[in-house]
């Protein structure tokens, strides 16, 4: 996803001199080509995220479309008030980019686990929240954000995730879920880097005779309520998957919609509990530890599918 982002941004910068990238002294090697080609549109601001966000706001006030780039929690909650007051209140074209959503930097420890960002960014007025699920979605989200749609949070994974979508041209629309697999036994709704796992689980369920729908939710705000309501109406179970706390992210957004629409559908949020992950290990290991791996999710979904209906 990171590579898709940088590739798209480079193309965008070439065609629009307003497109500007500010990095917080992170992204070494990744942004070197961009920096060399577009010196007037690039800035390494140093390890100073509050200033990074304030400077981005100022440059956006002067007409630029500014991407701030760092990893994990540094471009978001370190400078949250700058994002809220300077960027969101003034409806500025600033795109906050975090590489390393969830446990991407797992073994680096708790400081590098970005597990509350979606909830916090989703709560900010004027903010659009993207959490693409594969490189194609990351490319599309970057292009939308660079169009100057006001404040955006773009949560990326790492480099080298697989392309999940079959078609080269995905049906991308801001605020719309993307149907990845169809089925009526249940629905798995995924945001961010859980998409490949969601598809894996769906394929395993299919082999066991359960046809489940998979919805990718790369835009968390505005939220595609209709897709969730349809899933509740047309399938027997709704499960949300996110590499993020179950408080305030995708699962909460879906729960809000389902509760307010009296759907009555069986529903489960699968994500990280509201607890620090003190376990040491890679993203894969920490996902397994939090029961976010395909085998654990398969077990959870199967038990829900087999449970007697109320």
């Amino acid at each position: 996803m990171r590579n898709a982002f940088v590739k798209a941004l480079t193309e965008l910068a070439e065609n629009d001199s307003r497109v500007t990238l500010i990095v917080g002294d992170l992204g070494f090697g990744v942004v070197a080509d961009f920096a060399e080609r577009f010196p007037n549109q690039f800035l390494n601001i140093g390890v100073a995220e509050q200033n990074m966000t304030g400077v981005a706001a100022g440059m956006a006030m002067a007409g630029r479309i500014v991407f701030t780039y760092s990893i994990a929690n540094f471009p978001t909650i370190r400078c949250l008030e700058q994002i809220r007051n300077d960027v969101c209140y003034h409806k500025l074209n600033v795109v906050v980019v975090s590489v390393g959503g969830g446990f991407t930097y797992g073994a680096l420890g708790m400081t590098h686990h970005a597990t509350e960002d979606l909830a916090i960014m989703r709560s900010l007025p004027e903010m659009t929240v993207f959490a693409p699920g594969d490189p194609l979605e990351a490319d599309a989200a970057t292009r939308s954000a660079a169009g100057g749609m006001g404040p955006v949070y773009l949560r990326l994974g790492r480099a080298g995730e697989p392309v999940v979508h079959d078609q080269a041209q995905i049906p991308w629309q801001v605020g719309r879920a993307i149907l990845v697999r169809d089925g009526s036994d249940g629905t798995l709704i995924s945001t961010g880097g859980m998409l490949a796992t969601a598809v894996d689980v769906a394929d395993r369920l299919s082999e066991l005779g359960h046809q489940v729908r998979v919805l990718s939710m790369p835009t968390l705000k505005p939220f595609d309520s209709q897709a969730v309501i349809r899933a509740a109406r047309e399938t027997d179970l709704v499960v949300t998957l996110e590499e993020h706390t179950v408080l305030g992210g995708l699962g909460s957004a879906a729960a809000e919609v389902l509760a307010e629409n009296q759907s009555g559908v069986r529903f489960r949020r699968i994500g990280v509990p509201s607890a620090f992950t003190r376990e040491v290990g890679s993203q894969e290991h920490l996902r397994r530890f939090n029961k976010l791996d395909a085998a654990s999710i398969l077990d959870s979904v199967l038990s829900l599918l087999d449970a007697p209906t109320l």
């Binding site: 601001i45 200033n51 304030g54 706001a57 100022g58 002067a62």
Partner: protein, 270 residues
């Protein structure tokens, strides 16, 4: 010229005291300390008029000490950016002007502030974009002294000289009092000028109530080509009303009754 500037400063003070009285709010001392700074900026320095508030090449004033908003609202009204009647409903339910500077409250306000430590980074961004896009505008940022406790300012203080932002001027309203008492007792800033200078700014320390000194410094920016300017304006909190001067009380107290009459009488007589 100086007489007219002093008269504008006096009008800013009258508005600030009246607004505080009508609103039942305070922060009046913070507005009174910066009256001359704003008078000089709007009369002699800033290239902005009510007709050019949206011009891309207008000078930008980023008012970072948002709690001193009564002074800013007052000078903008006096200079014709919006009707003076708007000042009468400051703070009132459903009115236009809230108790900290808000950008869409009135024409001529660039940035909403009130959370301290936001203005200087934004000013740096405006100044950098101006340099890179070769625009002629200049950026002026007014900070309070207590605000200098915020680390974000020092991130920006490192940034501006590194990028040679000589189109940027920081003005510190150094009235020596913050929420809990004197700055030197709460969290000492001294040696303040030496700190900014060490960070790479061209520093000028002046009497912030001397309109000639203010004019000379602010009309002369950049004081050193290639460097941002920091004007440390030594001021008195509550300046212009004898019983408010250098008193913490008037960060919190609303002038009412006899105190209001007395304050107005003092200001009318100046």
């Amino acid at each position: 010229m100086s007489a007219a500037t002093r008269e504008l400063a006096r009008q800013i003070r009258v508005h600030a005291v009246q607004m505080s009285n009508q609103a039942g709010c305070s922060h009046v001392g913070s507005s009174l300390s910066m009256a001359e700074i704003l008078a000089v900026l709007y009369q002699d320095v800033l290239r902005i008029t009510p007709e050019t508030v949206d011009s891309p090449d207008r000078d930008r004033l980023i008012f970072s000490k948002g709690h001193g908003c009564a002074a800013l609202y007052g000078v903008l009204a006096e200079c014709g950016f919006f009707p003076k009647e708007w000042l009468d409903s400051f703070y009132h339910d459903g009115a236009r002007l809230p108790g900290h500077v808000t950008a869409d409250a009135a024409p001529g306000i660039e940035l909403s502030s009130g959370a301290l430590g936001h203005g200087l980074p934004v000013s740096c961004g405006l100044a950098l974009a101006g340099k890179r896009d070769q625009r002629p505008y200049r950026v002026f940022c007014i900070l309070s002294d207590g605000e200098c406790d915020e680390g974000s300012n020092w991130e920006a203080a490192l940034f501006a000289p590194h990028h040679r932002l000589d189109n940027l001027t920081a003005i510190i309203d150094y009235n020596k009092i913050q929420c809990f008492g004197h700055v030197k007792d709460v969290l000492d800033l001294e040696p303040l000028g030496a700190k900014w200078s060490a960070f790479g700014w061209e520093v000028r320390e002046i009497d912030g109530h001397d309109v000639d000194a203010l004019r000379e410094s602010l009309c002369g920016v950049p004081l050193q080509p290639g460097k941002p300017t920091c004007v440390i304006a030594h001021t008195v909190k509550g300046k212009g009303v004898s019983f408010m001067e250098d008193r913490l009380l008037w960060h919190y107290r609303t002038p009412q009754g006899d105190e209001f009459e007395l304050a107005m009488a003092e200001l009318e007589g100046q």
